[in-house]
């Protein structure tokens, strides 16, 4: 299937659901229960030129992405340790499994007690990101081909070149899928944490306010902004990893 055809099919799918949404909004005829897509876009267009919108975006995006970056680094480091040592693996496996199953709300309340609300989303994004990255990278490390390691030894390939050509080239696909999954979840959990902790000037605070004042159009507009930001972050990050993969592929 060509790229254009794929894009057209995706666009048709989106259009279908927008029409369903529009019809539902017209039939309900209640701006508190459901606003129409056009009203959401109009509200978002009103918010975007304001300084408050960008301050909230910067506040939340900065913290969520910081948590994501720290989670990526820590997840990779833990996976490396678990791949290297059976003792570390035995010690950390239950912790990683527990982190995967603990609800975001529990993390959030615990984080509120520990660090307060301002940097709440950093910690929550971090805690969500670590087990995803760690599990994916560990799977990659476990599937590293030992015969390639032996080959590197026979040819006495220098360490740096060996790391890039033999290990990184095998692990990048795992890193790519881990970060793709984690970045979306970091946004979701980070904003959810902000709604619970209500740090001043965050997107979560805006969502909370829209709930309190029954501003459904605001709620939808901010939600759309979060979806777009999350999508943009994922696209940028995955593109960067793709570029790195192509660079490694050609060495």
């Amino acid at each position: 299937m060509t790229k254009v055809k794929k894009a057209l099919i995706t666009a048709a799918g989106i259009l279908f659901w927008l029409i369903v949404w529009q019809i539902a909004a017209v039939r309900l005829n209640s701006k508190i229960l459901l606003v129409s897509p056009a009203e959401v876009v109009k509200r978002l267009a009103e918010l975007v030129p304001t300084g408050g919108f960008w301050r909230s975006v910067l506040f939340s995006a900065g913290r969520i992405l910081l948590g994501f970056a720290l989670g990526l680094s820590c997840g990779c480091l833990l996976a490396w340790g678990m791949g290297k040592s059976r003792v570390i693996r035995a010690l950390l496996s239950p912790l990683i499994s527990a982190m995967k199953s603990i609800p975001v709300a529990s993390f959030t309340i615990l984080a509120l007690i520990w660090i307060g609300s301002k940097d709440l989303s950093v910690l929550v994004s971090f805690l969500i990101c670590v087990p995803i990255v760690c599990a994916n990278m560990l799977e990659g490390i476990d599937s590293l081909d030992p015969k390639l390691k032996e080959m590197s030894g026979v040819f006495k390939i220098p360490l740096g070149r060996r790391f890039i050509g033999v290990y990184l080239s095998q692990l990048l696909p795992y890193f790519r899928s881990a970060s793709r999954l984690a970045i979306g979840l970091c946004w979701k959990s980070g904003v959810a944490a902000e709604v619970i902790g209500i740090p001043d000037g965050s997107i979560g605070e805006k969502l909370f306010e829209s709930k309190v004042y029954l501003e459904t159009a605001d709620l939808f507009a901010w939600t759309l902004a979060i979806i777009l930001l999350s999508w943009l972050c994922e696209k940028v990050f995955v593109t960067l990893i793709g570029l790195l993969q192509r660079r490694v592929e050609r060495m």
């Binding site: 015969k147 390639l148 032996e150 080959m151 050509g165 095998q170 993969q245 490694v248 050609r250």
Partner: protein, 193 residues
Amino acid sequence: MLKAVNITKKFGDNTVLDNFSREFADGRVTAVLGKSGCGKSTLLNVLMGLIKPDGGEILRGENERISAVFQEDRLCENLTASANIRLVTGRRYTREQIAAELAAVGLADCADKPVRELSGGMKRRTALLRALLAEYDTLFLDEPFKGLDADTKRIVLDYCRRKTEGKTVVFVTHDRDECAAFADEIIELGAED
């Protein structure tokens, strides 16, 4: 200098190599010929130091560099054919030189293709080229022409002969024609399957 002295290797109750001794002549291509399962690959791996023998020893020059085509291709699937070679050669060859060498074995369009997209025969030739372009004193080849059609094999054999002139090569095969075309000396391992 490469010498195997009283090499014995068992896998369980199966004795694959029994007191095998042989000196491999410097600067010559020695073929190890035999049927599948007779211990050719085991002997090659013992000579390379990848498998520890149960008895005997391998005598090799100090700091001797080796190169190899393994039983499997052992290529990095996510690297291009050219990058797989550069991984081993470093900057001794430019991209253009590697592309020219690839073209010489019929892989003109494969330099920038990831190995995962290549056919079995293409991968084998890439693995062979990687071994031939590496810096080595002794070259070990385990069925290097496996999966090549007759015409390609002829081209590759000719290329190998040119590239290994004056080099010490130990080469494992079950094909007498390959021995005749490439080897200076032949060792026949007699065990049956």
